[in-house]
């Protein structure tokens, strides 16, 4: 079934859309047209076998990472494991926490190996891998709730900064979350590490045992989910200003630890309209077009 993967140029003629199973990627490369074409062909070639490789090792990737864990063979799987290993000692985490970012990174690597590009983004469902040649920059739009695409700000990412990955996590998103953050956006050196950090910080924005938070065992929603018996957030009722503050305090403290350890560069934490920013240079510049019908990252 090699026909399964869809690889299409979007009607603007510039962006490439790749879809296979649960993976939806939009990417765009900038550079000489022959280079862009070579990069898109490389991305397409890498993409067609990617989901099969991942699924072959799904059993390993759904298990928490420990010293004794089996090492996967696939390159995407290895990126996932590398990204979550720093968290393994302190809490429950499986490589699946970094799957989207790792896929984005893998496609970006295939493109930059094949072609000389000025700048490139690979956006896998909101987790984004970036390539920037010296002097280049991207403007990233930021959303405060993944289920409602409205930009609350933009961040300028310069080649001179180390940031090459952006990821967003929250309970309203496509994946389950153990916390109550509406969204946590993280900038990190790579997309997979950003993905893992966003997942963990979003889990830390929490009010354990709070009666207004509706939680369900992940297994009851999706029997084969990697979170198994862990309680995942399915609804959040009324919270007082103090409670919102307390949940954000908890997430912010964890984010500062990660910042000190060099696991990420900046994070924006959102809960009920409240925003906390950790690290620099993530600034919420107001946007002119809050309707924001563009993709998360645009040139």
């Amino acid at each position: 079934m090699k026909e399964r993967a869809q690889i299409q140029l979007l009607p603007d003629g510039r962006r490439l859309y790749l879809h296979d199973g649960p993976i939806d990627v939009i990417l765009e490369a900038f550079g000489a047209s022959s280079e862009v074409r070579a990069a898109y062909e490389a991305a397409g070639r890498r993409f067609v076998s990617l989901l099969d490789e991942l699924c072959a090792e799904l059993a390993i990737l759904r298990q928490p990472v420990t010293r004794e864990s089996a090492r996967p063979a696939g390159t995407v799987a290895q990126r996932m494991v590398a990204a979550v290993t720093p968290y393994a000692a302190r809490s429950f985490i499986t490589p699946m926490a970094a799957v989207a970012g790792a896929v984005a990174e893998e496609l970006l690597a295939a493109m930059t190996r094949a072609a000389l590009l000025k700048r490139t983004y690979v956006n896998d469902g909101g987790d984004i891998a970036l390539h920037l040649e010296p002097g280049q920059q991207f403007v990233a739009g930021m959303i405060d709730r993944p289920d409602r695409a409205s930009l609350f700000g933009t961040a300028v990412l310069e080649a001179s900064q180390p940031v090459r990955g952006i990821a967003t996590s929250g309970w309203r998103g496509r994946s389950f979350s153990l916390g109550i953050a509406d969204a946590v956006t993280v900038l990190a050196d790579g997309a997979a590490t950003a993905d893992a950090a966003a997942t963990m910080i979003a889990n830390a924005v929490d009010l354990p045992g709070h009666p207004a938070v509706f939680r369900v065992r992940a297994r009851e929603l999706a029997p084969d989910n990697d979170l198994g018996d862990h309680l995942v957030t399915q609804g959040v009722g009324d919270l007082t200003a103090q409670e919102i503050g307390a949940a954000l305090d908890s997430g912010e403290a964890f984010a500062r630890t990660l910042l000190q350890e060099g696991l990420m560069r900046a994070a924006a934490l959102h809960l009920r309209g409240e925003t906390r920013i950790v690290g620099l240079p993530l600034q919420a510049n107001p946007v002119e077009n809050p309707a924001g019908d563009r993709s998360l990252t645009d040139a």
Binding site: R4, Q6, I7, Q8, L9, L10, P11, G13, L16, Y17, H19, D20, G21, P22, D24, I26, S33, R37, Y40, E41, G44, L51, D52, C55, A56, L58, A149, R174, E220, L221, A222, P223, D224, D293, R294, S295
Partner: protein, 489 residues
């Protein structure tokens, strides 16, 4: 891992177990009552695109990418600019095949030359545009006529073969020009014989005698009484809703009787239809409620002195709330105009609020004639039968059409659902409109189609000039009518 009620999805190698009412990891496949179902396939893509744009294949099979962004079957070729072979009975310029869900579909694309065509215009207004059957002129030439009044609207019928070819050369040319502009969404100024001047533009409010019509009425005068009687009850003794068609009077109207509104001794000019409903209270016009009156008291006769009383409160209002006046009777039972009390201004505002925006809407109507049908098949009547049997779908620039019952292929299409500048003309004079016939390849062979002229969608694109337009999300996808490209489940 297996769960009692979860089903295993085998759409991709992730092989999700999906519980009832939930979706798999992809958000595309779900468990609906134990059945694996695919929810709208465009959902995720639409999220990325933010609107229902068409997408085109890339790196399609072994075919090399040539930088061309056009492909199939998510592209549909409309007939706009396709050209025509009239009057030669040759195959239509494009006969295109594409595969939809494993079924080969062909779309026969041609631009039809329509001598038998016109537009039906619906103008949302209460104002009197002119007597029914009177001529409608453009640039001084007769291009159509006033037809029926509909609920809150006036219909015009413009064009048709008699104006296009039956009159003077100039009449035909001006008619063609008027139809072309209306169909392409441009504004056209029309003069109704013994009536108003109207600027008509599809999807825009009409401008009648230089006044922009903002709202269409909430109902006729009688209906307005029925809708608002309760809100008026107790706040005012009498209400007259002035309407050129049916003027309503609260105290006599059934709605007022039911509420126990006492008689007021009011006397209305005009012809009483049923209690509280009056016809012909004045002449038609462009003032109060589509009448010619500027002073609403002109439709009243003196109040009956035995019933009316000094201080009686009277509200007069038009069917859009645009005109209103408040009166109280003096000692001699003559209405004296006073400021509208706050308790009543609310109900007047409510009438306005319930009026929808007034629009002009334009439907193109044409008949697919012999030569056009002959361009589709060697046996033209079979095309008609195939359309009747719903084996062949007719679209106009990709927009859905209504096929008139009975013989022939006479259809109507809302021009605002078609791509921009979809219409053209020939000096015959006649209008050129796109028309597409879509049917299964095997059905096309059955009805005597030009099988040797059928080409793959991908093959026509590179060297023949073309323009890509985004499908309108409100239109069904022509190759796939059950689903709308932009729709979400």
């Amino acid at each position: 891992m297996p769960d009692d009620d979860a089903i295993r999805c085998d759409a991709c190698p992730v092989l999700c177990y999906i519980k009832p009412g939930r979706l798999g990891a992809c958000d595309r496949y779900g468990n609906r009552d134990g059945q694996l179902v695919r929810v709208d396939p465009h959902v995720v893509l639409d999220r990325a695109l933010a609107r229902g744009a068409s997408v085109v294949p890339f790196l399609d099979r072994e075919q090399e990418w040539d930088g061309n962004i056009v492909g199939a079957p998510k592209a549909f070729v409309t007939a706009i600019g396709a050209g025509t072979t009239y009057p030669d009975y040759k195959p239509a310029p494009f006969i295109i095949s594409s595969e939809v869900e494993g079924v080969d579909m062909v779309t026969v694309v041609t631009e039809g030359i329509f001598s038998y065509c016109g537009v039906k215009v619906k103008i949302d207004t209460d104002r009197h545009l002119g007597p029914e059957r009177n001529l409608v002129r453009a640039q001084g030439e007769a291009v159509g006529h006033v037809t029926t009044s509909e609920y809150g609207s006036q219909m015009l019928s413009l064009g048709g073969v008699r104006h296009l070819t039956g009159g003077s050369r100039r009449e035909g040319t001006v008619t063609c020009d008027t139809l072309l502009n209306l169909c392409n969404g441009k504004a056209v100024e029309l003069e109704v014989e013994e009536g108003a001047s109207v600027v008509v533009q599809a999807g825009k409010p009409p401008i009648i005698d230089e006044v922009l019509e903002e709202r269409m009425r909430v109902g006729c005068g009688s209906a307005t009484i029925g809708m608002f009687a309760k809100q008026w009850f107790g706040k005012v003794d009498e209400v007259v809703v002035v309407d050129d068609h049916i003027t309503g009077v609260l105290s006599e109207h059934q709605a007022g009787k039911l509420l126990g509104v006492p008689e007021t001794g009011i006397k209305i000019k005009g012809r009483r239809s049923t209690p509280g409903r009056y016809f012909q209270v004045a002449e038609p016009g462009t003032a109060w409620g589509g009448t010619n009156i500027e002073d609403p008291l002109a439709i009243l006769q003196p109040f009956k002195s035995k019933i009316a009383w000094p201080g009686l409160r009277l509200l007069m209002v038009s069917t859009t709330g645009e005109h209103h006046a408040y009166f109280e009777l003096d000692e001699t039972l003559r209405p004296v105009r006073k400021d509208l009390p706050a308790t009543l201004s609310e109900s007047v505002a409510r009438i306005k609020e319930n009026c929808e925006p007034a629009l002009c809407t334009v439907l193109f109507m044409g008949g697919a004639g012999g030569s056009l049908r002959a361009g589709v098949t060697e046996n033209p009547v079979r095309l008609t039968h195939s359309v009747r049997d719903a084996l062949t779908r007719v679209t106009c620039g990709g927009a859905p059409v209504y096929i008139w019952p009975g013989g022939g292929i006479t259809f109507m299409v809302d021009v605002s659902r078609m791509p921009e500048n979809a219409f053209g003309y020939v000096p015959t004079p006649a209008l050129v409109a796109p028309i597409e016939f879509t049917l299964k390849l095997e059905d096309y062979a059955d009805l005597g189609g030009y099988m040797d002229h059928v080409r793959a969608l991908s093959s026509i694109m590179p060297d023949e000039g073309h323009r890509h337009v985004t499908a309108r999300p409100e239109n069904p996808w022509p190759l796939f009518p059950a689903k709308t490209p932009g729709a979400r489940s």
